[in-house]
Symmetry: none
Subunit: 216 residues, 4 copies
DNA sequence: AATGAATGAGCCTTCATTCAT
DNA sequence: AATGAATGAAGGCTCATTCAT
């Protein structure tokens, strides 16, 4: 289970105590399946409870409301993807910046373990709920952190990014990937697409650096 | 029972051609106002009809269903923004590529004539509906067209973009702007934000060109 | 928009087996009352729910849609009438064929326990729904079964009826009674009417027998 | 066009003056077509007007309300069927009672000139509106008249029927045919079915006569 | 901790009918 | 006589959430 997070989410009415991991997992898995099969329209609390083999009441024992399930699911998959990135960076043969960027892009592209429909549905829900910012937070943090680490490396390539830069970088990157998911673009997992996204990020990063260097 | 309810006739859905422009405009304007005031939740057919000063029946005379209104509104504002871009490019004092890009970014940032809440709501609806691709089409076309024109200019900077490049360029650009709208970022209309978006686009464009040139 | 409306899941329609008998009974009784009082026009889901002392939601917990209530009500009263016929035949003092026919006619005439308006409304709905055949099935079966039993008796009066004969017999019999109900004929429960219906059936039955006998 | 009838129908709000036969015919034809194609559910005033090539307003010029169209259509076809019966009786080679009955049954079975779906829809509507009695009036009259004529013939077979007898005879006869139409029985136009209906009527008629004769 | 029957506000949509032109 | 845009009351139905057991 993902590490418990700080209550970023005010909607989870009453923070529950000791969660039965198995039940929560069953609910999330049921949600993913329903989303994958029937999209957002089929995602009702009753449907989830039934598929998970619990009662609606139990469902509300673990999740404050319907949105909380979606959010948890999104977070879980996000965290997994982020963990993948970390691992990729760790064992990366290519320690260059581009190598790292590529690893990250690849991880984000392959997030949600192949359940494209579910991913799309979760994305739609998150956006429709206006929860985009919340979901982006880890990514933003990750980028800020990484860019600083990069900056501290042997090649101090990056200065710390301004908030606007971090924003533009993270949202454009994720925007391209999200759009590919939402539009069900066939090239989502292609090398050509990956190349372009990497190119975008690298070009922007280098431009920022160059500018920063030039400035003084 | 008494009144059959199934939509046996798919044709009735077709929006009449002979639209009374004034009525349609009133409905769209009412929709924008309601969206701006109360968000998606307040956007009910009855509310729209009332605000527009027509009956629900009339509303259905011009729009197949509630979604159609939203879509039309989105399209209208999109087209307006696109037209603004065209105009900006026309009368642009700065004919450089960067000048053009900046004009375009500015037009997109200021789309929906300042109604940020309405814009956000429409965006959410469009996304939730899975209509993102459809809405992006004009932008994609615009970028493809513009980049070719640019390529034919005195400084043949751009080769024709590959589909993936067009996709990444348009979606990352719009992704950054959309995110700022959806997250209600205060810097949406700031110069700093505009600068970064422009920088992103320019960096990517130049990188593509350089690569293309280098390739042979 | 916010709440998806399409019935993606056909299974939700299936009336639950574990019906709380009391609730279902209350709904059916409320329906009969409303039908009796205000006819088909007054028969709305909200009205039924209110009269039954439950919420609309509960109503939909037990019945797939409005028609299902009507159908269930029709079936219930039909079954009751059929049971009455069976009982009448059992304890019939007069074991002659005419005695049996008369018992049956009487049971059908007095079906729906005196609620003529409700009966009419149900009949109209069933007819309008095109469910006439379905409702007639038990009657048809009953007649076929009974005629065979009669044939096996001490006076082997009846050969097995052909499908057309069974059809004509059951539909003409029910047609006369139904018409009297639908047209609200004052003589519905009169002895004269009963006599004529019995006469019709007996005349037809005897004619068939005679013909069958003559044939060889 | 059928001869204009006395205003049996209170619903036709304002009796219109000189009707344009062509328009009325077009409306009735359009109605029949729509009924045949889409059943009762597709039968809306707008649909009828469109198919008939007139405006809804015009439609209301000639018919007081929607029901009036249905009624007129039913009447028209009924009258036609009745006229057919009259003609059949006139030119009937077989002047026997059975010959006449058979001619009548045949005419009723073939009414509505093969448009079974439309006939079914009209029937449903008439029944659902509670207009069954009204529609049966001509039949009832016809039977009463015919049976008297028969009684006056060389073989004074029939005494005048009592109201109950006329009712049972007409409703059972029509009930069998109607049921075959409503249930879309394949044997509707078969000889076997016709035979049975004729047998039913004859058996009943003869039984009545015999009884009547015996009575004094 | 779990159950699941019950709740009910409120939405979308239809279509017969009118009436100003 | 004809038009057809506009009307608007009314109704079926959904589904997140609760709470007594």
């Amino acid at each position: 289970m993902a590490k418990p997070r700080q209550p970023l989410d005010a909607k989870r009415r009453i923070p529950r105590q000791a969660r039965s991991g198995a039940t929560v997992a069953a609910i999330l898995e049921a949600s993913a399946q329903i989303l994958e099969t029937g999209g957002l329209a089929a995602f009702t609390t009753n449907a989830v409870a039934e598929r998970a083999g619990v009662s609606v009441g139990t469902l509300y024992q673990y999740f404050g409301d319907k949105t909380a399930i979606l959010l948890q699911l999104a977070r879980q998959e996000f965290d997994r993807a982020l963990a993948d990135v970390g691992q990729a960076l760790q064992g990366e043969a290519d320690p260059s910046i581009e190598g790292r960027v590529r690893a990250m892009v690849r991880a984000m592209v392959h997030a949600f373990r192949g359940r494209q429909r579910a991913r799309k549905a979760v994305l739609q829900a998150v956006l429709a709920q206006g929860l985009g910012a919340e979901m982006m937070a880890p990514i933003t943090a990750f980028i800020a952190r990484t860019s600083q680490q990069v900056g501290r490396g042997p090649q101090p390539m990056l200065a710390a990014l301004t908030p606007e830069q971090t924003f533009v970088l993270s949202r454009s990157l994720m925007g391209a990937i999200r759009a590919a998911v939402l539009e069900e673009q066939p090239f989502l997992k292609s090398r050509a697409f990956e190349d372009e996204v990497v190119r975008l990020v690298m070009a922007y990063l280098e431009r920022i650096t160059a500018t920063a260097v030039t400035r003084p």
